[in-house]
């Protein structure tokens, strides 16, 4: 690949056909890096790190739960950022990116919720506790599902894109507000939060698996995002061809 300056490279991603050929080229290596990171992360998480003195082996759940929670948040930020670019700069690929990011983000949110519940059961004895973080994560899932449902119901892509972009931006604005109100709600009823997710300090030996898994998940997110964007571009071309076929 010729040495393009970063702004040129970003610009090159702008128009769809350029994006298709560029993403086609880098997807291979990205998938390899993702696999490498995830496998090494798994190795450290399961085999090469000590159990926590308090939580014992259940601390290994953290190596999946915390990264997926990060990705859930990151996914929504990407969606909101892409939506903003789409609305403000009329960028052709922005809403494709936002629409493609949503299902991946939702999947990570779901993963974070269930692993959180699996982590909570040995700790608190019930599958679900209305802990501030878990509750905010649940509401984040609603934001995702609402966004995906909006795309599914509006037939015409351009109109759906604008509506979804507005929804994503309003959502992003509300995420901190919702989180704060849930934390406040939680402390209102339970003075001391019984459980601090991830513990105050993370021992060095636990940092490596956590970082590796987090990096692996992030690479997975970006790789899948590119694949889904390519599929979305093709989906719109199919729609165009179908419309053209009807006019013939």
């Amino acid at each position: 690949m010729s040495t393009l300056s970063t702004s040129q490279r970003l610009q090159a991603f702008a128009n769809p056909t350029r994006f298709m050929s560029l993403s086609g080229r880098i997807l291979g290596p990205m998938a390899a890096v993702t696999a490498l990171l995830l496998l090494s992360g798994l190795y450290f998480a399961l085999l090469d790190s000590p159990p926590d003195y308090q939580q014992g082996e259940t601390v290994r759940i953290m190596y999946v739960h915390v990264p997926s929670a990060w990705l859930a948040m990151m996914g929504y930020m990407i969606m909101a950022g892409a939506s903003a670019i789409g609305l403000i700069f009329r960028h052709p690929l922005a809403d494709v990116c936002a629409k493609s990011a949503a299902p991946i983000g939702a999947a990570f949110t779901f993963l974070a919720l269930v692993t959180g519940s699996l982590w909570g059961k040995p700790m608190w004895g019930t599958w679900w506790v209305w802990d501030a973080r878990l509750t905010s994560m649940l509401i984040l899932l609603f934001l995702y599902l609402g966004y995906i449902a909006l795309w599914a119901t509006i037939e015409e892509p351009a109109r759906a894109a604008r509506g979804a972009a507005v929804l994503a931006l309003v959502g992003a604005l509300n995420v901190p507000i919702i989180h704060y109100s849930v934390v406040w709600w939680n402390t209102l009823h339970q003075p001391a939060s019984v459980f601090r997710m991830g513990g105050p300090t993370i021992a060095a030996s636990m940092l490596t698996p956590l970082m590796l898994m987090a990096l692996g998940f992030t690479m997975l997110f970006v790789t899948l995002l590119l694949v889904r964007m390519r599929a979305e571009i093709l989906r719109r071309r199919v729609r165009g061809l179908l419309l053209a076929k009807a006019d013939m």
Binding site: T126, F142, G146, A149, T153, E155, V182, H189
Partner: protein, 225 residues
């Protein structure tokens, strides 16, 4: 005649699952209704466990009401209603096909989702089987009675809200017996209550299988003629 009945039913199922079907929306609404309960009442697990059966049933009812108005309105708006009323299929059978379609795409998913949402409300382990059984027994009544509200408000602007108001009173017996059955198994109720409420719930459902289509057919004739 049976072919027409299954044609209408299959078409409704295909439409519901295809473009942003109604079923998914109702479950999503049910999820949100059940989530905001603890946010309103507080995260105290014991309190939640007590009100869980009642809240799950109220959530089920509200979610079923949500998708009622599209039952006939969609066909009325695009002209399909004219054709559906001009076939060999009597109106009562048409309404029954619509109600079964509504139950399969909305009622059943809600009943399947209910136990999962029970987790959020810290529902007692022993309450799951009775809750499921009661909801399976009672949910058809929600669909069949719901057709009455939907038929009465066809062609009415903002008919959905009106449909819910009209039908809510009919849902009260289903609610009472349903919650009775679901909570009888857990809290200290006299032993006979569980069997009693289940059988009453079954009776209400059976009655609604007949009353719903007949009343809705009359309403449709009055409303569309």
């Amino acid at each position: 005649m049976r072919r027409a009945f299954s044609a209408v039913l299959m078409r409704d199922l295909r439409l519901a699952t295809r473009a942003g079907g109604g079923g998914g929306m109702a479950v999503f609404f049910f999820l949100i209704v059940v989530t905001i309960v603890p946010l309103g009442i507080g995260p105290d697990l014991n309190l939640l466990a007590m009100i869980a059966p009642g809240m799950l049933w109220v959530g089920l009812l509200l979610s079923a009401l949500l998708t009622l108005d599209r039952l006939f309105q969609a066909d009325f708006e695009d002209g399909s209603m004219d054709i559906l009323m001009m076939g060999d299929l009597p109106l009562e059978a048409l309404v029954a096909a619509k109600a079964v379609g509504h139950w399969l795409t909305t009622g059943l998913p809600l009943v399947i989702a209910a136990p999962l949402l029970g987790l959020l409300l810290n529902l007692d382990e022993s309450a799951y089987p009775p809750l499921m059984l009661a909801m399976l027994l009672g949910s058809p009544a929600l669909s069949f009675l719901g057709t009455i509200g939907a038929a009465l408000t066809v062609g009415v602007r903002r008919g959905g809200l009106l449909a819910s108001l009209l039908v809510m009173p009919f849902y009260i017996p289903v609610l009472i017996f349903g919650v009775g059955a679901a909570s009888a198994a857990t809290s200290a109720m006299p032993s006979g209550v569980y069997g009693q409420s289940l059988s009453l719930l079954g009776a209400v459902s059976l009655v609604s299988l007949v009353v719903g289509p007949v009343a809705a057919a009359v309403a449709l004739r009055a409303n569309l003629r």
